[in-house]
């Protein structure tokens, strides 16, 4: 199916920015119905929980796309009723109705049998977190092909990002980053430790990610464990650089106190509070913010004070050193859906991906780490293309994060 065959995107949210218009605003000429592959469209919506009506079918006659749709039941509250084609669908979504099915030709009567209804409700509340109907899948893929995704974004647009610092008082630094409905918390703790015997001139950094089952039922047991390790390793690859320490986002030698004797062990713990796709980008952003928020206590070293050669380290409670985070990269994940790739995929979009490439980009536009996720193969030229796109997107994300960090710090000082 090419881009032309899906000219309407009625499930779209109102666009995030006022500059973009919905596909059916007056700015775009309406397509003639003969161009449409299907004469009519029927959407079936599932009610939010505890709603007396369990599902609702809307029939949009293709001949008059702006006309009022026909409904299966009359028990729809009047304010829901049409303010145009997308208006109805998006207000339904806002009220918690879930699109569940989509048919391209109208059933002879708009009544859904009880068994069909049960099947629909079952699929929505079933075990898998992302249970999408065929119609929704087609809709998501079609929207991406048209450069207008279900929430009104373009392919290379991030969701609104919100940043909070200092959310965990016990930690040396912490941050909470929200990317749409994805919500992560990162805490950074510094503890005194001993350098690794093979690398006596460096401190140590450990990254652990926890996907708790409170975020999503599928994280229970092994499911969460697998994702946690995958995310931790991907972040380690992206942030810690090569074996010799070249290209590392966190300068390990700055964590050293006494060579071969004492250093800081930096524990970076991430928690996924709520998951709606693109966890890796959110976690990497949260780590960057948390590092800039982190204060490492100032230490005074008294060499040779103790007889066993162990230096005496005095940790200050008042003075803190700021961490240099200018080298910490951001991670941009490009998710390939169909022939196109998108940034910041929601979990619904992620369920449709064939493969995803996470690329970390630093301030100089250099690539500091790359991980491929998802099974399907990619052409080498596509990967190179993705890298250049990621560099461009990463630059924007980096400057956005910088301003967010400054704003978050300013608001923290005000309080």
């Amino acid at each position: 199916m090419d881009g032309q065959s899906l000219p309407r995107n009625p499930l779209a949210y109102p666009p995030a920015s006022p500059r973009r218009s919905l596909p059916f605003s007056s700015s775009r000429p309406p397509l003639h119905s003969s161009l449409l592959p299907y004469p009519d469209e029927v959407f079936i919506f599932l009610a939010p929980t505890a709603h007396p009506l369990r599902c609702l079918a809307l029939w949009f006659p293709a001949a008059q796309p702006s006309a009022a749709p026909t409904y299966s039941r009359q028990r729809v509250a009047p304010p829901l009723l049409p303010s145009g084609y997308c208006g109805l669908v998006s207000s339904l979504r806002r009220l918690g109705w879930r699109p569940a099915a989509y048919c391209s030709s109208p059933p002879s009567r708009l009544r859904i049998s009880l068994s069909h209804r049960r099947a629909l409700v079952g699929s929505a509340t079933g075990k898998r977190m992302v249970g999408l109907s065929e119609g929704e899948k087609r809709f998501i893929r079609g929207g991406i092909a048209q450069d207008l995704r279900t929430d009104g974004r373009q392919r290379l647009h991030y969701r609104p990002i919100s940043v909070e610092t200092g959310v965990i008082p016990q930690a040396n630094g912490s941050a909470r980053v929200r990317l749409g409905a994805t919500d992560v918390i990162v805490s950074i703790k510094a503890e005194l430790g001993k350098p690794h015997p093979l690398q006596p001139d460096k401190g140590k950094v450990a990254i652990f990610i926890d996907c708790s089952p409170t975020a999503a039922p599928m994280f229970e047991g092994r499911g969460g464990e697998e994702l946690s390790t995958e995310l931790s390793f991907a972040l380690q690859r992206c942030l810690l650089g090569g074996r010799s320490g070249a290209g590392a986002g966190i300068d390990l030698s700055s964590l050293l106190i006494v060579e071969g004797k004492v250093c800081w062990d930096l524990y970076i713990d991430g928690l996924v509070v709520s998951s709606d796709g693109n966890l890796l980008d959110a976690l990497a952003a949260a780590i960057k913010v948390a590092l800039s928020n982190a204060g490492i206590p100032k230490v005074t070293v008294n060499l040779g004070a103790s007889p066993n050669g162990q230096p005496d380290v005095d940790v200050s409670d008042e003075e803190f050193l700021q961490f240099d985070t200018s080298g910490v990269p951001v991670v941009v994940t490009l998710t390939k859906v169909g022939k196109h790739y998108i940034v910041d995929a929601t979990s619904e979009e992620e369920s449709q991906m064939s493969s995803a490439v996470s690329i970390s980009v630093n301030r100089h536009g250099h690539i500091c780490g790359l991980t491929k996720r998802g099974g399907a193969g990619l052409d080498p030229s596509v990967i190179l293309d993705m890298i250049s796109v990621a560099k461009h997107v990463g630059e924007q994300l980096m400057s956005l994060l910088d301003s967010e960090i400054a704003a978050a710090e300013a608001s923290a000082e005000d309080q």
Binding site: K127, E226, T229, E230, F233, R237, L240, G241, G242, R243, S244, A246, G247, S355, V357, N362, H366, I367, C368, G369, L370, T371, K372, R373, G374, G375, A376, G377, L378, D379, P380, I383, L384, I387, S388, K391
Partner: protein, 255 residues
């Protein structure tokens, strides 16, 4: 049927024009000889054999320089009862190290990172639709870790899968390059790996020209990624030739 291990060298010669200063140790100079006498763009001799374990449906042994790996494939066999129904087959990968595989006696435990990378590398190549409701288990054991372990594991695993008769789109070959300052060194040994500035590993299906897995660490410019990818893809296609001839040899030997 003892044959000499076949070497595969690359068509490109090392670029002697790169004479910029480097940073660390022995690798500070632009020109240095590798401990095993190879040039920068030459891979280690590859020795591959199928049928290393009797009980498995398919198995393979790979020896690349000092790195020695054995991979067994079991299945397709019935998925565990706890698993949900699946219309496509499942792939289960596990990589473990023996306690004596490293110079310092290790724990010999499972390597979770490699297991997940191996899974991702093979997933795209296997036609999972051909064995619904069942699971294929791939168990890799590193007998000796001599650098470039993961590429050898992946290559060996795909050979074992082919030996087990699992339907695949193509053989999967894998090669890594290390970056030292300006130099790119292919198929590093563990001693080189310990002081590398960055590494790039590519897993690909040469006949389809598709990359199934790609990891990169360290700081890279785009031009360098380009160069490294070309180097790896070239080496992968040559490695795939060796794998193919190994399979042919095994087939003609048994008949």
């Amino acid at each position: 049927m003892a044959t000499n291990p076949s070497t595969y060298a690359l068509s490109q010669s090392s670029d002697s024009k790169q004479r910029l200063q480097q940073r660390r140790g022995l690798f500070q100079e632009t020109e240095w000889t590798r401990s095993d006498g190879r040039n920068f763009h030459q891979c280690r001799p590859a020795f591959l054999r199928t049928g290393a374990a009797n009980a498995a449906s398919g198995s393979a042994y790979a020896e690349f320089g000092a790195t020695k790996v054995i991979v067994s494939v079991f299945g397709p066999r019935e998925s565990k009862k706890a698993m949900m129904y699946s219309g496509t087959g499942r792939l289960n990968c596990n990589v473990s190290y023996t306690t004596f595989s490293t110079p310092v006696r290790g724990q010999g435990s499972d390597h979770k990172e490699y297991s997940s990378l191996l899974h991702k590398a093979l997933e795209g190549a296997i036609i999972l639709e051909t064995f619904p409701k069942t699971t294929v288990d791939v168990f890799a054991l590193v007998l000796e870790s001599g650098g470039g372990d993961l590429p050898v594991i992946i290559t060996c695993a795909s050979l074992a899968l082919a030996d087990a008769g699992i339907m695949m789109y193509d053989l999967v070959a894998s090669v890594s390059v290390s970056c030292f300052g300006r130099n790119l060194v292919i198929d590093p040994t563990s001693e080189e790996e310990a002081c590398q500035d960055g590494t790039l590993m590519i897993t690909c299906m040469p006949a389809r020209n598709e990359v199934t897995q790609l990891t990169l660490t360290g700081e890279w410019t785009t031009a360098k990624i380009n160069e490294a990818m070309e180097l790896c893809l070239d080496a992968c296609s040559k490695l795939a030739e060796i794998m193919r001839s190994c399979l042919k040899e095994a087939a003609s030997g048994s008949s």
